[in-house]
């Protein structure tokens, strides 16, 4: 564990979320880029179809009378846009993804259709893993606990939770999670995606209304669709639109019969991973109480990472935990394990224990993973400032404040809330997405760059995920490289924070 840097960093001048408007030139050239890629896509597809060029990807014969397997534009996009820059995505790693990451070096002879390993490993500073509290290690006291638990309890329970899969360890984990969050009870599942997808249907059904945010994760969307309730989508973090939707729905009732809704569930996330924004929890709780709806809060990225005690967005906004009806989270991000949990009142958790698909059919969490989470929770529940858990939470908060302020002062267009550890900086065009990724890799930093379809068409971005295992020196190196690459790519075009060189953006503590 690194020593915490003693110099205090000043707080942000304002805690508002600012989304700067897209510069016109960037939007224009991004559309031009997509048009050029489309034209070349048609040209190359023509060459492949007439066999002037070898066809390397998979293609289907499309026999008549059968439904085609691939959607045509999606596979066109994959062949002609994604495949050209495929060396930037899905890179195999050669070690534990902590603060530093070893990447397997690969070369391609036929322009990203196939890769060969050279056998070398590149050591890079890792800004792509969701390792918020830095617990991703393969040695240390937690790893020793995990190895002990493999010797005692084996590697798998080989049974679903309602049959033989509920061990003493699982009960201990659930009570620790409930103690950590301050709720009455909790239940844990083996997979975070499945926690959302399979449990919303045990809470809502036909005759219910689900109001979900525009930018919710796929697992929430899938779970909502699976439940069979009526779904209405409101604009991201727009409380006025949500209130309007609530009022209209309550007044008009169910679609054809106009009967009152059985239940109204508002689904939000704590931290949205593509934007870096926070949900507005106080206003949501006020709305929920006024219109007697229920609130489902997905804290996948915020548990452990937000809040002065690490208890998530509820702790960050200083709200009462009993006001949020269903608290959901995952153990994948801050706890360096796998799985998800749902926490709330005891009646709710008892109902889920009996009625959830995941409890009846899915295999329960594997014992070494449970032990990892128990060890991490024991560290985090401890409120002592000098102990490991608190030190990591404070280090992450310091890293977030430092990195975000310096990055936006240098002229990058950065989205999101000033306190969120997910930092998206905008790149806009697909060729810059590839260029930023490759240039940073040459300088020894591995980042995640995303474009369409995970983001809107024009808003390609690079997403830095900060961690408590990053030291100030690592962050300074990353900022210097980002400045160089930003100049090469003409990224630093913010009008709100005109661009400044790195040494002028020193943060002075008052």
């Amino acid at each position: 564990m690194t020593v915490r840097d003693p110099t205090p960093v000043p707080e942000h001048p304002s805690l508002e979320e600012v989304y700067e408007a897209t510069p016109f030139s960037e939007a224009f050239w991004t559309y031009v880029n997509y048009i050029i890629l489309n034209i070349f896509g048609w040209f190359r597809d023509f060459l492949r179809r007439t066999r002037i060029e070898n066809r390397k990807g998979s293609a289907e014969y499309n026999p008549s009378g059968f439904v085609p397997l691939y959607q045509s534009y999606e596979s066109f996009y994959t062949r002609n846009v994604y495949q050209r820059i495929a060396d930037c995505f899905n890179r195999p790693i050669g070690g534990v993804p902590g603060g530093k990451l070893d990447l397997m070096e690969r070369v391609t002879e036929d322009y990203n259709w196939s890769f060969n390993f050279t056998g070398n490993k590149i050591t890079t500073i890792n800004l792509g893993s969701y390792n918020y509290l830095g617990f991703a290690n393969n040695n240390g006291p937690i790893a020793d606990n995990v190895i002990e638990s493999i010797k005692e309890n084996g590697l798998a329970t080989a049974s679903s939770t309602q049959e033989f899969g509920n061990l003493k360890q699982h009960r201990k984990l659930e009570s620790l999670v409930a103690q950590f969050l301050g709720t009455e009870d909790a239940i844990a599942f083996g997979m975070g995606f499945a926690t959302n997808a399979l449990n919303i249907s045990s809470l809502c059904g036909k005759g219910c209304l689900i109001l979900s945010d525009e930018l919710n994760h796929t697992s929430l969307v899938l779970g909502a669709r699976l439940s069979g309730a009526v779904i209405k989508v409101y604009k991201h973090n727009d409380m006025k639109h949500l209130e309007r939707l609530l009022r209209d729905s309550i007044v008009s009732g169910q679609p054809r019969t106009h009967r009152p809704w059985q239940k109204i569930l508002i689904i939000v996330e704590g931290v949205y991973s593509m934007e870096g924004s926070l949900c507005k929890l106080p206003e949501l709780i006020e709305l929920k109480k006024k219109y007697r709806a229920y609130l489902y809060l997905d804290e996948a990225h915020s548990i452990g990472a937000m809040g002065s005690r690490g208890r998530g967005v509820v702790d960050y906004w200083k709200c009462d935990v009993n006001d949020v009806d269903v608290l959901m989270g995952t153990f994948t991000k801050s706890f360096a394990a796998a799985g998800g949990y749902i926490a709330g009142k005891k009646e709710l958790i008892d109902h889920i224990r009996i009625n959830s698909h995941a409890c009846a059919y899915a295999i329960s969490m594997s014992p070494p993973v449970v032990e990892q989470i128990i060890s991490v929770l024991n560290l985090l529940i401890d409120d002592d400032e000098t102990r490991e858990g608190r030190k990591r939470i404070n280090q992450l908060a310091w890293n977030t404040r430092y990195f975000r302020q310096r990055l936006s002062k240098m002229g990058f267009i950065v989205y999101g809330h000033p306190h969120s550890p997910v930092v998206p900086a905008l790149l806009y065009s697909p060729s810059k997405i590839a260029a930023f990724n490759r240039e940073m890799l040459k300088r020894g930093v591995s980042v995640v760059t995303v474009g369409f379809p995970a983001t809107p068409l024009v808003l390609g971005r690079v997403r830095f995920c900060l961690s408590a295992s990053h030291t100030k020196e690592m962050l300074d190196d990353v900022l210097k490289y980002a400045e160089e690459v930003g100049d090469l790519l003409n990224m630093r075009q913010s009008k709100l924070n005109p661009k400044k060189p790195f040494h002028e953006t020193e943060l002075i503590a008052h």
């Binding site: 880029n33 070349f40 050209r84 060729s431 240039e439 090469l488 790519l489």
Partner: protein, 94 residues
């Protein structure tokens, strides 16, 4: 590929003598402009033969436009002047 040159030459120039600086910044500027050109026209993600194809087509179009400009514009300009100036002098005198 191009920025590799920029990065390694950045490191070299800090270590070697000051005399290299006068054309160093010039080559850096050229490299930077080339990189921006590649990014804006999406040639950065294309294979080399596609780059040559696009550059050839662009070069041909520019040559065509320049040739027709050189051949046709002087004649048309002279024609316009010849046909309007006598009329203008007539109008101004009367």
């Amino acid at each position: 590929m191009t920025s590799n040159i920029v990065h390694s030459s950045c490191l070299d120039s800090k270590m070697t003598k000051h005399e290299r600086q006068w054309y160093q910044s010039f080559t850096e500027a050229i490299e930077r402009m080339y990189m921006r050109f590649l990014l804006v026209t999406t040639l950065y993600v294309m294979e080399p033969w596609e780059r040559y194809l696009v550059l050839t087509i662009a070069f041909l179009v520019i040559t065509l436009v320049t040739y027709s400009a050189i051949v046709f514009i002087p004649f048309h300009v002279a024609n316009i002047i010849r046909s309007t100036v006598p009329i203008l002098t007539d109008v101004l005198l009367y």
